[in-house]
């Protein structure tokens, strides 16, 4: 899938958690959403994008969420 599409979708998820007062909760919320609703291949692709391209295009909170909490196995 095109990485742009995944970036857009991940950022949208991030937006929902934007106003969460608790940052850790917000990051966990983002990652849990991706873990529960995104197919493995999509999760791997976005994780690779964070690893290999510094997650360019992704919001900071989404990058931290992906690097800390995303399941790619």
């Amino acid at each position: 899938m095109q990485t742009e599409q995944l970036i857009k979708m991940a950022n949208q998820v991030g937006d929902f958690f934007e106003s969460y007062p608790d940052q850790v909760q917000a990051q966990q919320g983002i990652a849990e959403h991706l873990n529960r609703f995104w197919a493995l291949a999509m999760r791997r692709q976005i994780a690779a994008h964070v690893k290999e391209a510094n997650g360019v295009g992704l919001h900071a909170k989404v990058i931290s969420a992906i690097s800390s909490y995303l399941e790619v196995e």
Binding site: F16, Y20, R36, A39
Partner: protein, 971 residues
Amino acid sequence: MDDIKYTTHTQPVNRYDSDKDYGTPKKLSEKLVKLNIDGVEITVPEGTSIMHAAQLCGVTVPKLCATDSLEPFGSCRLCLVEIEGRRGYPASCTTPVAEGIQVRTQTSKLADVRRGVMELYISDHPLDCLTCAANGDCELQDMAGAVGLREVRYGYDGENHLKSTKDESNPYFTFDPSKCIVCSRCVRACEETQGTFALTIEGRGFGSKVSAGNKDFLESECVSCGACVQACPTATLMEKTVIEAGTPEHKITTTCAYCGVGCSFDAEMKGEEVVRMTPNKDGGANHGHSCVKGRFAWGYATHQDRITTPMIRKSIHDEWQVVSWDEAINYAASEIKRIETKYGKEAMGGITSSRCTNEEVYVTQKLVRAVFGTNNVDTCARVCHSPTGYGLKQTLGESAGTQTFDSVMQSDVIMIIGANPTDGHPVFASLMKRRLREGAKLIIADPRAIDLVENSPHVRADYHLNLRPGTNVALISALAHVVVTEGLVKEDFVRERCEWDSFVVWRDFVAKPENSPEALEATLGVKAEFVRNAARLFATGGNSAIYYGLGVTEHSQGSTTVMGIANLAMATGNVGREGVGVNPLRGQNNVQGSCDMGSMPHEYPGYRHVSDDATRTLFESAWGRPLSNDPGLRIPNMLDLAGEGKFKALYCVGEDIAQSDPNTQHVTHALENMECVIVQDLFLNETAMYAHVFFPGASFLEKNGTFTNAERRISPVRRVMAPKNGHGERGMEDWEITARLSKALGYEMRYSHACEIMDEIAALTPTFKGVSFKKLDELGSIQWPCDDANPTGTPTMHVDEFVRGKGRFFITQYVPTTEKVNAKYPLILTTGRILSQYNVGAQTRRTKNNVWHAEDLVEIHPHDAEDRGIKDGDWVGITSRAGETVLRATLTERVQPGVIYTTFHHPESGANVITTDNGDWATNCPEFKVTAVQVNRVHQLSDWQKDYQSFSEAQIAFTGKKSNKIIKQPA
């Protein structure tokens, strides 16, 4: 009608008999009254009419103007009775019971009076009983017999109505005034049952007659619901099919296959031919009412376009080859195996539809999970109500509406957000209008002035919050802000029933000044004071209920709005009893059911996540196959991947993604890139034009199964005729086709009847534990959860406790959509539905419903039109970032300046050519309701439409059928 709580002393009366007419409606008073009718003692609720009480003791009083669906009127004077100690002859239909009275329904005096009444009626009535369409089904005839009418002394030479002309304008029923007895049942049905007020009695005395506002029926306000036809005791209002075919000889109760109201109908049959569909009085959702679709628009099942033979082809540019079932199934199976070997199982998937029965959806997802070996299964709810499933699960704990439809009769304040019940859910709308006429308050949040705003007789919205499309979350936050900052929160409810911590976070969030109606006034385009007053009314007006539709879900923040709605209901204590609640109005008949049945890629039946080990083990052992614990692809993911050549095989049952999904050109590009598209449908739908295998399906009249409506009501679908898709073999119900494909793929599904599929569902799904076809036969319908604790189902959910335990509040930050207007695309296009057509129109377009809506029009505000030199009826091009299409314009102030509106019932309209693939953050539900566009006058169809026309003509020719598509062209 349900069990009644009282019995007579002499004769126990346990159940109402739906075949009987009790003359006047059932009363529910707690207070009981005892009386004696013809020597039989009976105790009935106060307010019951003498006529109704008599019927309960088995005594039938002659009657003409009364029927138990309507309030009595007392005009025919046939139902007179004698009451000991009272003078005169009161009408039993309008006289309520009183304690201790002695009633006599048959005396020689009464017999005389009744004969006199009948004589007058018959003297102005044609005596062509033997050739009348109502012969054998006419109450006038019955009454003439019942009162023993033997002669008519007045003769026919005087003035009479026998020569009045018939009104044949309605495509489905005839109005023959010569047979009218002016009982006004039709007029009252149109008012009370339907709420349209299209009919009146004009003139007085002998000159009085029924009139549809001095127009013919088609030109009038009539919406063709059929309530008047149902109520008419004579042949005056009569279904044309009965006039043609004669009276039916048997009937089978089934469920409408159109919208999410899920009306119960009796299919009235002559052998294997349907003569008419009549709404069933016992129907839990409709109580004997119907709309034009379910009542009349079932002719598509035998339409000439229907394809009844299996077909295959190598490429979509080839002609279709008609083959045997074995050949089609084996070809499909070999292709699936080939693709699995070549590309892997992740390149395959299935799509089910909300038009399928629960049993069909269940076997399809089973096939994909257990046999394809992937969780790549999705359903069309993806593009409509997936945010409902998500949002309500998160907040309340169950992905379903909280109430029954009847609950609206206990509501004091009704808030409708992004739904248009009179068009989309007509039978429920009639009930709602009845409650509104009784005085309930109405708040409507919709960019467009739907009919309920001020275009429905005796109903008017107290507040119409005509917000800008795409700002629902801002509105919900503003409403919540008022509730929180003005001290209107029901704190005891929240403390007892909800997670307090989540409430505090939410409260602090919505209380922020930036969420106030004043701060959001410019965003919403609605006066702050208006929003404040609406919020106050909602929070303090008594029982407040929220009804919402696709205007909530089909947005980039659809799930957020659903959660916001649940927040608001919890904060004001409006969940868990009758009259309140969060009520998603589902578009198609089985949206609820198809979601319940595990057709989403991340969950098994009963909304259990695929990663949940206990559930997965349960299904693995029941199905005997290993299952994946990884969520599968959603429809938009499948399409994105297909466009890139990474998704190759699709089994699509009853769904038409090429018409109903956004950004048509993206969809068709994806389909063109697949190697095996299998479509199972009644017609060569738009998706089938890109298919390699076509399995002809069975219509809802040809199969057994169940549908689950918007109130979680599981209702039986019963086979009234054999499936027409046999092609030399025995016809197959759709689940049988899926099972046969499964067998060809090496996995046998051993069911001999749809009921065994339901038994399997019940065994594996806690909320369906107590459901079986046998129980459905007994109870008529069941609202899930149905388990040991609730063996007859659960009308109202979350009564003492939320399904998730404590209700959870979520912060709902408004994030404007990225689909923004600018100089190039200055208008917002939003989309909706119309009463006479259904969804992509595949069924209703193939009926006479087209007389009401033959083409999709685009509504433009006169200001916007004037700026562009557009006049009513002009052809206009609508251009968005995704594409262009051309439709005819209609100018109306229903839409606000800056907003245009259209429906998408006709494929050539290409409404989805212009919608973009923007979608909901949580579920990818497409943002159908907001597309930035420009419109301008044009003189020819768009390129897409021209291509579409030649492509679809070629595709239809490939089946050997003739194209009868006539695309209207700009002059």
